[in-house]
């Protein structure tokens, strides 16, 4: 991690730990940039015929952040939240790039996906999902967060509760409603298209 960037990330993380929730929003693009650099570096290496795995990417990021002594086990919640947001960005951007590639609209995808072949669920339309989530955030920000943690981050109900500082019951209820809301939104989108 280059020092200036590392320093900035450190400061944002500290602000976040002090309770400045806005810091997380600023942190997300910073870390994304860091991942981008990382992926490019990894591309350069001979990687045993493998592309960089999702798990590898997250772990690499994780180790880097913990190297900076920013993450210890007590605030792993912060790490989880960061990762979940990153996963949303990575997967959604990739899905958008694929879509524009298919349409042949000539947009050159300058993206991680050259290096990062993660394997999203084929059954999920992640672009539609991302749009629907943005809509959900307008209605109820926390429910949107719950979905990001659970769906993109793969976190359990308890871990999500730890991240969002609410009870697991609340997460379970939010999750239930958010899913119904999203399914409705997605099915409406689909019927709009046809």
């Amino acid at each position: 991690m280059d020092d200036a960037l590392g320093h900035e990330i450190t400061q944002l993380l500290q602000a976040w730990r002090r309770g400045d929730e806005g810091a997380l929003d600023k942190l997300t693009p910073q870390v994304y940039r860091e991942l981008h650099l990382l992926a490019r570096r990894c591309m350069g290496r001979e990687r045993d015929g493998h592309t960089l795995q999702t798990t590898a990417l997250i772990n690499e990021l994780y180790l880097r952040l913990s190297d900076l002594k920013l993450i210890d086990w007590q605030n792993r919640a912060h790490f989880f939240a960061l990762c979940a947001r990153q996963m949303r960005r990575i997967l959604t951007d990739q899905a958008r790039a694929r879509r524009s590639h298919k349409r042949g609209d000539g947009v050159q995808a300058v993206l991680l996906d050259e290096a990062l072949v993660v394997s999203p669920q084929p059954s999920a339309d992640l672009v539609a999902m991302d749009d629907a989530l943005n809509e959900l955030a307008k209605v109820d920000e926390r429910k949107c967060q719950v979905v990001v943690m659970r769906f993109f981050g793969g976190l359990s109900v308890e871990e999500t509760a730890e991240v969002l500082k609410v009870s697991p019951d609340t997460v379970a209820r939010d999750w239930r409603l958010a899913k119904a809301w999203l399914m409705r939104e997605l099915s409406e989108q689909k019927s709009d298209e046809t």
């Binding site: 798990t55 999920a124 209820r173």
Partner: protein
């Protein structure tokens, strides 16, 4: 949308879902009160609720998951073609035998050589890229050169009609994943597989091939116990990147714990791998084989990686006490994070396993799923009147002696005793305790003469494996025990490896003192009712032999429990100092006693609130005797007090494993769930415990406690009333008063309060318990005054202040926070309560 509108929608939505399906629409109709727009909104959400069991339940990065029944499903759930009878080259498909990340697997007939083979059809996407295909072929060529009895032979790789497939040796058997039991395999069984697996890997590594994906699902065991490693060098080539880590084994919806569990730290980072990565995975597999648990486990992919990257796994013997030290050291060395600190080659690892005494060869390994090496010793029936406790004692001594044999899984006394009382026949008892062999016997005592008969019974067929009669003088009691123990071990020896000669650990030369001690423990096990009698026996034992350390540990435990809720009849300031003094006396006499360490730690935790020192002592007790259940039980208490709930859960499970039918161990697991605020789980545990022992009042109290946690005050009051009626203990009455008040039965609550206040004139009633009733009645002033009083007298309840669900309404009240802060300060040391303050 306005927030008020949204929260209205939300609450009706949940209300409707909580209602019975048949009542749902009327609930919505009523709640919407004629607001048609609102109703439409809620109904459309409800309509989509049912289809939300969809892709969203799985993490977005999960390319594929496994169903809870164990069969992997492809993400798209695409129907697979039925290929039965289809010919691939000269192979004819007979039946599908599995679907994996690599595609479908079939049993097929080789029509030329007339042999059965396994055929793996490769997913086209993975071999369509010519570069990939070339590399894959290269690897397959190398793998096909491996010729080892423990590696599945690759016969051929071919293509027919655009379908690529592998032809392999067909192996009938089960995967190691299917064979591993929840409590792990016996050391000899696991050792037998480990040697074969290590042998296979050593040969492959020498040929320059690494497996990359060693996991129980990739290890076949034939019906005669021969290990066959699958997918050598191929597995990782064929699974899509990212998805390969996610073919979850025990997944619940939304919870993926996949083969990332067996990855090495360097593997999760995508670094180049070498043989030492297989060694790490080997360590994980062996860990799971002997303990039944994964070394690194967490509810999600992220936290599993967190574990693999940064944390050391709990030593296997902590999870499964029968794991011997030498094997534990081997496993932990495989699991070192820096590659340079692991075994550097499979050959080194093989040597370590062999020098540990693990035998090789399929003849020693068993593939049976019934734990033939597990034994339960039933309390010896007494034929004449006063032999009863002696018989109990003899059984206990035998259990202890047998436990020293690491290949034998011995079920603890209480569990066996609990079942004996149910009038079940031996084979049924064996099945319930999940053991292969039962030792049963009787004692007849006439004056100073003893006649002991013993029989060993095979649970599967009720067959008598062996029986014997001993006539002895009372003074020979230890000799008789040694003799019987040695004879049993001798009988079982053909099936056991590395059996050690047992040496019973007893601490008094006076058999009478020993018998008195055993009687004391017998009564203490029935606390709180039996505690006073237990004290009398322990005192007599100590009187006969004043140097008898165990007798003092008995006294220590008895006084400690009298001063805490388990007994609840002595003020903390009276009971605990006695408990500590006795524990210290025991430790002066025998510094290596686990019992003494645990007793002292218990008092330090609950009375002195000296957490770090208590923790040190608990760890020491567990180190000294990993099978001593109470050490795990009480250590879990400390972990709850300090908010380390995952660790507490694992200690609670160890306690339960050591003594599965002991009502205390079941009760304790329930307590853990209540304190962890997993109320639903506590309730499901309580159902089981109640079925086993409906007369145990604490079960009902805890059930009520859990109901209070979920907000079901009516249910809480009902079950607590039953529990309190059964016992009449003041602790239970205070639970009743609290539940009555929460349930709105103010008058009843006040009556209970009066009853308790009247009791307190005659005997000790904890101010903490009274305080809880006032809290529920809404009199916070009085509640805090009583909590202060509890603080002043160092009530043992206070270490759980942050987690007490009955007090969560006080969170945020500055008086509560101040009290909590003072507790934290008094905890001293590095452990603090700060991280554990309840989340709700």
């Amino acid at each position: 949308m306005k927030p008020e509108r949204w929260s209205k929608i939300e609450s009706i939505f949940h209300k409707a879902l909580e209602a019975d399906e048949s009542r749902r629409s009327s609930v919505v109709e009523e709640s919407c009160a004629g607001d048609a727009e609102l109703r439409r909104e809620v109904e459309s959400l409800l309509a989509h609720h049912s289809d939300s069991a969809s892709f969203i339940e799985r993490p977005a990065f999960a390319g594929q998951v496994t169903t809870s029944s164990g069969g992997p499903v492809t993400a798209a759930d695409a129907p697979r073609p039925d290929l039965k009878g289809v010919a691939f080259g000269h192979y004819r498909i007979l039946e599908e035998i599995g679907v994996g990340g690599m595609g479908q697997v079939f049993r097929a007939l080789d029509t030329r050589l007339h042999r059965t083979v396994a055929i793996k059809v490769l997913p086209s996407a993975h071999v369509s890229d010519p570069d990939r295909k070339r590399r894959f072929l290269q690897e397959a060529r190398a793998a096909s050169k491996l010729n080892h009895p423990n590696i599945v032979t690759l016969h051929d790789m071919a293509s027919d009609g655009g379908v690529d497939y592998l032809v392999m040796e067909y192996v009938a058997g089960k995967t190691l994943k299917e064979l591993i039991r929840p409590q792990g395999l016996s050391i000899s069984e696991a050792g037998g597989y480990a040697i074969q697996l290590a042998g296979a890997l050593a040969v492959a590594h020498a040929a320059g091939l690494i497996h990359r994906d060693i996991k129980p699902a990739n290890i076949m065991v034939t019906n005669d116990g021969q290990v066959k490693v699958l997918d050598f060098g191929l597995a990782k080539r064929l699974t899509p990147a990212g998805a390969d880590s996610l073919d979850a084994g025990q997944s619940l919806p939304g919870m993926l714990v996949g083969t990332v569990s067996y990855m090495s730290p360097e593997q999760t980072r995508g670094e180049p791998l070498d043989a030492r990565s297989d060694i790490f995975a080997f360590g994980s597999v062996l860990y799971e084989a002997v303990t039944g648990q994964l070394p690194f486990k967490a509810p999600s992919l992220l936290s599993t990686m967190h574990e693999i990257a940064l944390h050391d796994p709990p030593p296997p013997s902590r999870v499964q006490p029968r794991v011997p030290l030498w094997l534990e050291q081997i496993i932990l060395r495989c699991l070192r994070k820096p590659v340079a600190e692991r075994y550097q080659s499979m050959a080194d690892l093989l040597e370590a396993l062999r020098s540990g005494g693990v035998g090789a060869g399929p003849e020693t390994a068993r593939a049976s799923t019934s734990p033939a090496y597990s034994i339960a010793v039933l309390p010896f029936a007494s034929v004449s009147g006063d032999g009863e406790q002696f018989g109990d004692g003899l059984a206990e001594e035998l259990i202890h002696a047998l436990s020293l044999n690491e290949d034998l899984q011995v079920i603890a006394r209480t569990s066996a005793a609990a079942l004996r009382g149910h009038g079940l026949d031996i084979r049924e008892i064996g099945r319930r305790l999940n053991v292969g062999v039962i030792l049963d016997g009787s004692v007849r005592r006439a004056g100073n003469r003893l006649r002991i008969t013993v029989q060993l019974i095979d649970v599967n067929d009720g067959h008598h494996l062996w029986s014997e009669r001993y006539d002895r003088e009372m003074t020979d009691v230890f000799e008789v025990q040694d003799e019987i123990t040695a004879a049993i071990i001798e009988k079982l020896r053909p099936q056991l490896l590395g059996a050690r000669s047992p040496s019973a650990a007893r601490h008094s030369e006076d058999p009478e003192a020993y018998a008195l001690y055993l009687k004391g423990r017998h009564h203490w096990g029935r606390r709180p009712a039996g505690t006073m009698e237990a004290i009398a026996y322990f005192e007599q034992a100590a009187k006969r032999d004043p140097t008898y350390a165990l007798a003092y540990t008995g006294l220590a435990d008895a006084y400690n429990t009298l001063a805490s809720w388990e007994g609840g009849v002595l003020p903390p300031g009276e009971g605990f100092p006695k408990g500590m003094a006795y524990a210290e006396q025991a430790l002066r006499l025998k510094p290596e006693l686990a019992e003494g360490h645990a007793a002292l730690a218990y008092a330090l935790l609950h009375y002195r609130w000296e957490i770090p020192e208590a923790e040190r002592l608990f760890s020491e007790a567990i180190r000294l005797n990993p099978r001593y259940g109470p050490a795990h039980h009480w250590y879990s208490h400390l972990l709850v007090a300090t908010g380390r709930l995952e660790e507490s859960l694992s200690e609670s499970k160890i306690y339960l494993n050591l003594d599965p039918a002991d009502p205390m161990s079941q009760l304790h697991l329930m307590w853990h769930h209540v304190m962890a605020h997993n109320f639903d789980q506590a309730l499901s545990e309580s159902g089981r415990a109640l079925a086993n022992d409906p007369g145990f009042s604490w079960n009902r109290i805890f059930q009520g406690w859990a109901h209070l946690g979920t907000g079901a005050a009516g249910e809480a009051e009902a079950v607590i009333r039953k529990g309190a009626e059964l016992s009449g203990v003041s602790v239970h009455l205070s639970f009743l008063g609290h539940a009555q008040a929460v349930n709105g039965n103010r008058a009843d609550a006040l009556r209970t309060l009066e009853r308790l206040t009247a009791q307190s004139a005659e005997r000790y009633v904890s101010p903490y318990e009274l305080g809880l009733i006032y809290e529920a009645l809404g009199d916070h002033g009085q509640a805090f005054a009583l909590l202060e009083q509890a603080f002043a007298e160092r009530s043992p309840w206070l270490v759980y202040l942050a987690r007490e669900p009955r007090l969560r309404h006080l969170h945020g009240d500055p008086r509560f926070d101040a009290l909590l802060a003072r507790m934290t300060r008094d905890f001293g040391g590095p452990v603090s309560l700060a991280g554990s303050s309840a989340r709700r």
